[in-house]
Amino acid sequence: MESIGVLMMCPMNTYLENELQKRYNLHRFWTCPEKSVFLETHRNSIRAIVGNASAGADAKLIDDLPKLEIISSFSVGLDKIDLGKCKEKGIRVTNTPDVLTEDVADLAIGLILALLRRLCECDRYVKSGKWKYGDFKLTTKFSGKSVGIIGLGRIGTAIAKRAQGFSCPINYYSRTEKPDVGYKYYPTVVELAKNSDILVVACPLTDETRHIVNREVMDALGSTGVVINIGRGPHVDEQELVKALTEGRLGGAGLDVFEQEPHVPEELFGLENVVLLPHVGSATVETRTAMADLVLGNLEAHFAGKPLLTQVV
C-alpha cells in the first residue's frame, strides 16, 4: 500500500509526531524552507493535515492540496481551519473535545486564584528574600465573588461547577438561554460584565465572538473587575485591554491566550495585577497524550473506513 502523506503544521507533541512518523509518510511543514515549492511537489500525496491552536488550514492551503481528505486538529478550537471550505470540498474535520475540558477548567480557576491572591508575586516575594523585611500586602478574596462565564459549553460548565465549590454565584452569557442550568442568564456580555466580579471567556472563536470583550465590556467590569481568558486571544481586544490595565480602568487580567502568540504586549510585563501564561490550558502530560491518541484514532478510523471518533465536519 502506498504510504499516506500527512502534513503536520507545527511542532506540537513529540509522542504524536513519533507515532505519525511510524504510521504515515510524515511531512513537517515547519522544516520546509520553501513552502510553496514543497506544496507543489507533494500536492498529490498529502491526504491528511494535523493542525493545532496555532496553525490549521486556510482556504489557500486547502486549495493547494487536491487530495486532502481529512484535517485532524490537536485542539478543540477550530478557528484556524476554514470550515466552510472544508464543508464545500467534503473534507472531514476532527478535534479533541472532552479530553481537555478538565485541564482548561482547572487552569481557569488556577488563573483566578493566582490573580486575586497574587500567588506568583507571593512566590517571587519569598524567593527573592523580601519576606525578611516585612509581610506581603493583603490580597483579594475569591470565595463568594460572582463569576460571569461567556459561553456555557463543556469548558464553561466545568468552570461553573468548580467555581460553585468556592460559593461563587454563577452568571453567564450564551447565544441562547439554557433554562435548566440554575445559573443567571444575561442577554448581553456588557450586562454580564456589569453584574460579575470575574469575567471568564470560554466560548469558541468565530466571526461573531472576535473582540467579544471590548472596551465597553471592560468599562462595565471596571477597576474592581477582572478578565480571565482561556479561549482564544482574539476574543479580547488586546490593545484596549492593555490600555484599560495600564490606566487602571480594569482591575486585572489572567490570560492564557493572546492575539499574536507567542508575542505578548510588553506593557503587561511590569503589571502586578496580571497573570500571563504561555497557552498551557491543556498542557499536561495526561491530557496531551489523550489528545494525541484522539488525533491518531481519528486518522486511523478515517483511513480504515470506520466511523470517526470526534468529527466536527
Partner: protein, 321 residues
C-alpha cells in the same frame, strides 16, 4: 457589671486594624511587645492587675509565668486558628476561657490551599515568568504540567479548613480522603488511621491540622517516601508539621514531586535551596491575608468579648481539656 472590662491588645504596630473597633466597645491598652518581660515592664502594675481580657494578635506566648502576672485575666481572644503558643492546661487550671479564629479565615485559607495546589501542578508562577522574561517568544512551548482533576487528595486534619478544602476540590473530580485524630462519622470521605497510609494512597497531601506535640514533624522522611516521587505536599497549617530539613532534601533529590508552602518552621526564614525549584510554590504566611478575613476576625474578636462579658456563650471557644 460596674465597669467595662479592661482589654489588653497585643499586636505588631502594623496590625492596628482592630484598635478602633475594639476601643469603641471596651477600654483598651495596646502593646507591640512579643514576650512577657518587656510587655509587663511596659504596663503599670495597676493595669496588669486590672486586665480581664487579652486579644492576642501577635502570637504572644501565653505561659504560666505571664498568666501569674495577670491575676484578673478571664478571657484570652486569639486571632489565629492555631493556638500552640498558648498553655491551655494552665488556662484551664486558672479558669481562663480561650477563643480562636474559628472559621473567620477558613474560606481564604482553603482558597489559598487550592490555589497553591493548582499553581504547583500547572507550574503557574514558573509559566508566568516564562512569558514575562520573553522566553516564550524565544524558546517555544513551556514544559507540560500535571493534571489536577481526578487526583487522589489526602487531607491531614478535617476541621473547618480541611472540610472547606475538600468541598472545593470535589467538583474537580478529586478523590478525597483524610487522616484525623478520630474518624468523623457523617463525612463521605475515606478515613486513614495514620499519616503513612494516607500518604501511600494519595497523589497529594494537604496539611491543615493544629500543631501539637503529637503532630510536630508528623510529615517526616518516611511519610514523604511513602507519598512518592510524583507526590505533592501542600502546607497551610504550621511549618512545624513537616520536618523541613528532610523536606528540602526530598524536593532537591526528587523523592517527592513538588510542594506548595505557606508556612515554615522559622518564619520569615525559608530554606534557600527551595528558591530555584519550579515545582515548589512559596507564600509568605498569607493564606488568610485578605480584607475580608481581617474584617471577619475583628467582628469575631469583638463578638467573643461582648458575649463573654454579658454572660452569653462564646462564639469560637477552644476546648481546654
Amino acid at each position: 457589671m460596674s465597669e467595662s472590662p479592661f482589654v489588653l491588645v497585643q499586636r505588631p504596630p502594623t496590625f492596628d486594624f482592630m484598635d478602633e473597633l475594639l476601643s469603641r466597645n471596651f477600654p483598651i491598652l495596646t502593646t507591640h511587645h512579643t514576650s512577657s518581660i518587656p510587655l509587663l515592664n511596659s504596663i503599670s502594675p495597676h493595669a496588669s492587675s486590672s486586665i480581664r481580657a487579652v486579644v492576642n494578635m501577635g502570637m504572644l506566648k501565653i505561659d504560666a509565668d505571664l498568666l501569674s502576672h495577670l491575676p484578673s485575666l478571664q478571657l484570652l481572644v486569639c486571632t489565629s486558628v492555631g493556638i500552640e503558643h498558648i498553655d491551655l492546661a494552665e488556662c484551664n487550671r486558672r479558669g481562663i476561657a480561650v477563643t480562636n479564629a474559628g472559621e473567620a479565615f477558613s474560606d481564604d485559607v482553603a482558597d489559598c490551599a487550592v490555589g497553591l495546589l493548582i499553581s504547583v501542578l500547572r507550574r503557574i508562577p514558573s509559566a508566568d515568568h516564562y512569558v514575562r522574561s520573553g522566553e516564550w517568544a524565544k524558546s517555544g512551548d513551556f514544559q507540560l504540567g500535571i493534571k489536577l482533576s481526578g487526583k487522589r487528595v489526602g487531607i491531614l486534619g478535617l476541621g473547618s479548613i480541611g472540610s472547606f478544602i475538600a468541598k472545593r476540590l470535589e467538583p474537580f473530580g478529586c478523590i478525597i480522603s483524610y487522616y484525623s485524630t478520630s474518624q468523623k462519622q457523617s463525612v463521605p470521605y475515606r478515613y486513614y488511621p495514620d499519616v503513612l497510609s494516607l500518604a501511600a494512597n494519595n497523589d497529594v497531601i494537604i496539611l491543615c491540622c493544629a500543631l501539637t506535640d503529637q503532630t510536630r514533624h508528623i510529615v517526616n522522611r518516611e511519610v514523604m517516601e511513602s507519598l512518592g516521587k510524583k507526590g505533592v505536599i501542600i502546607n497551610v497549617g504550621r511549618g512545624g508539621l513537616i520536618d523541613e530539613k528532610e523536606l528540602v532534601k526530598c524536593l532537591v533529590d526528587g523523592v517527592i514531586g513538588g510542594a506548595g508552602l505557606d508556612v515554615f518552621e522559622k518564619e520569615p526564614g525559608v530554606p534557600v535551596e527551595l528558591f530555584g525549584l519550579d515545582n515548589v510554590v512559596l507564600s509568605p504566611h498569607a493564606a488568610m491575608a485578605t480584607p475580608g478575613s481581617l474584617d471577619n476576625i475583628a467582628q469575631l474578636a469583638v463578638g467573643n468579648l461582648k458575649a463573654f462579658f454579658s454572660n452569653q456563650p462564646l462564639i469560637s471557644p477552644v476546648r481546654l481539656d
